[in-house]
Symmetry: C2
Subunit: 223 residues, 2 copies
């Protein structure tokens, strides 16, 4: 056994701009491949927690720390990085677009998830896996809410689900399904979802407490 492997972490940050899923793509700042598109990434030293590094990276590139972060997978193929054996413990991050859309960090750019450029190493594979996970998560757990503002309209969440699942969903049935689930509480306020709308939309919040309670009882969210 030898201590001769390097550790890194990449972040697939996903947000929903109201229409499309977007992700944050960076550029390599050093040779080789300087300037090439890549996922936001960092080295992890032997004395650092991978999770901490991932969190710090998220704060740096997003300008805030309200991030849903979860380990995605370890990418560890022998020749994935020409510098030597580098294990990438990639993370999957979901953020609320409203909190990040105005943040501008040099070298990072939001792009449509489906239109990401070719990236270095196996970063496209990492991105792909994150996307697959999102699609599955959205079906089996009420995770979509972290991509939305704390308070949101039915139209927002409806659009998000249509985008994640890649198909049209009937407006009435969608509403009924969520309402029956007891997971949404009506806030009692309304907003104009888009400027120029004639009628304001009612706002809802996700009821995390209720969800936790139901989960303990064996409830299983399915879409």
């Amino acid at each position: 056994m030898k201590f001769d492997v390097a550790l890194g972490t990449s972040l697939v940050v996903i947000a929903f701009d109201g229409e499309k899923l977007v992700t944050l793509v960076g550029k390599k700042s050093e040779e080789p491949y300087r300037g090439a598109p890549m996922l936001p990434s960092n080295w992890v030293s032997a004395s650092e927690s991978v999770e901490d590094v991932a969190k710090r990276l998220a704060v740096k590139i997003l300008g805030m720390d309200k991030v849903y972060l979860e380990q995605l997978n370890a990418f560890a193929k022998v020749y994935r990085n020409p510098m030597g054996r580098v294990v990438n413990i990639a993370h999957y991050a979901l953020v609320n677009w409203d909190l990040v859309k105005n943040v501008k960090v040099e070298g990072y750019e939001w792009m449509n998830l489906n239109e990401a450029p070719e990236m270095i190493f196996d970063h496209n594979e990492i991105l792909e896996m994150a996307y697959e996970r999102l699609k599955r998560r959205v079906k089996h757990r009420p995770i979509g809410f972290v991509l939305l503002p704390k308070q949101f309209t039915f139209n927002m969440i409806h659009a998000l689900y249509e985008e994640c699942l890649g198909k049209a969903l009937d407006k009435r049935n969608f509403r009924k399904k969520f309402m029956r689930s007891q997971l949404l509480v009506e806030v009692g306020e309304s907003i104009f979802e888009a400027p120029g709308n004639k009628k304001p939309s009612r706002l809802f919040e996700f009821d995390q407490k209720e969800y936790d309670k139901l989960t303990l009882k064996g409830y299983d969210f399915k879409f």
Copy 2:
């Protein structure tokens, strides 16, 4: 950046003995903690594929290579191993009990999944995560079949599902549900499931082709 991290892999091997879920527990062969219970594990050198090492380890401790193997998670806490920074890319393996029950490998022992002893480092946490994954997988994908012989009776799969989901399932409804799914084909033969049974049980096989076909069409197995 430094190449100063060590890499290892542990295996959570799960099988179903017809009644209980079982897992393979090893013993540490070197100091420190020689003799202490641990998950089957191996070091991975900088030039080796983690997946390959995991597969070889599976072959060694199971005596055969028909194993469903999948990455579970990277366990990478800073102080998880007192020797230094060791990243464990743990794997989750499902095997058919009939193929392994007679294999005896020195130092490894089958134990009930729920009665595993306290193990070194974070191995209990790894085991726990594998168990959680199994429970989820069984609900959302027809994965249970890899824990059964190629041909199995309804009672076997019924018992397996009851065990994985941790609750009783109505025999008739269970059968109807699987039959409607079109995923099982009747083999046309029967066996005596237990010695001394009065009536033989019919045998079924999982129809992988049909499942792949349905999956392509967007079919989603749910239990």
